[in-house]
Amino acid sequence: MIAVHHYIFLSAALFAVGIYGVIARRNAVGVLMSIELMLNAVNINLLAFARYVTPTTLTGQVFAVFVITVAAAEVAVGLALVINVYRNMDHINVDDINLMKW
């Protein structure tokens, strides 16, 4: 029988992959995608808890909806930035986007 910790393992794994992606990816869009993964991991966790711990209340699911909306907004702005960076620097290699360096 699938219990809560199964889902937690799943979301943790997904989140870990997301972290790896965010830190290791050289391509800005790749980083954004990894962020999306992490957010999904969070959603899984939310719903898992909603399903197992507090089946009667819907906070988990409502919260998941909000996470999704925020994720959407975030990715939109992220990509706009990436495009802008690309337009200015002809590449979106995160390592080289270090103008904020000293």
Binding site: A13, Y20, R51, V53, V77
Partner: protein, 167 residues
């Protein structure tokens, strides 16, 4: 092994596999594709967790909108796709280390803590109930409004940033 556990394992394998692909593939378009598959897998998990509405929303927004957006972004940043340069930077080992530590930590925590799972059966979660939960009394109206404003702001921001200076 009823269908529920079986489908859970199938879905988690699908999700983690495609997630790994997203993270490790050299060709960014393939990553985007696998990202779409991950999202569908997650939607499936949602369905397993009796959150059909969310599964639908997940599919609609993530797969339908975000992946498309990413694809668009990928295509707009055309040049990088061509040259398949090393996709991971020098922080990769550190990243792996941190990911693994994270995973072990969560595993340890999950195993050690006993979650107060309550026996009742989940209430029939339909759009009706979610709708009332969001907009009904004692509900999340305020966060809903804030979310809407956030979306508006993001939209305007994205347009302004991406529009560039040409016109």
């Amino acid at each position: 092994m009823d269908w529920h556990t079986c489908s859970f394992y199938v879905l988690s394998v699908m999700i983690l596999g495609s997630a790994l692909m997203v993270v490790s593939l050299r060709n960014i378009v393939h990553c985007a594709l696998f990202l779409a598959f991950t999202f569908m897998g997650v939607a499936g998990v949602f369905a397993l967790l009796h959150a059909e509405f969310l599964a639908a929303v997940q599919v609609l927004i993530y797969v339908g909108a975000i992946t498309v957006l990413i694809l668009f972004a990928v295509m707009l940043t055309q040049k990088t796709i061509g040259i398949s340069l090393k996709q991971t930077n020098r922080l990769a080992p550190l990243a792996v280390l941190s990911a693994v530590t994270f995973l072990c930590m969560i595993a340890v925590i999950a195993l050690n803590t006993t979650f107060p799972t309550s026996g009742q059966h989940t209430v029939a979660v339909s759009t009706q109930t979610i709708g009332s939960a969001i907009l009904g009394n004692g509900s999340y109206v305020v966060p809903f409004e804030v979310a809407s404003i956030l979306l508006l702001a993001a939209m305007v921001g994205a347009i302004v940033i991406a529009r560039g200076q040409d016109n």
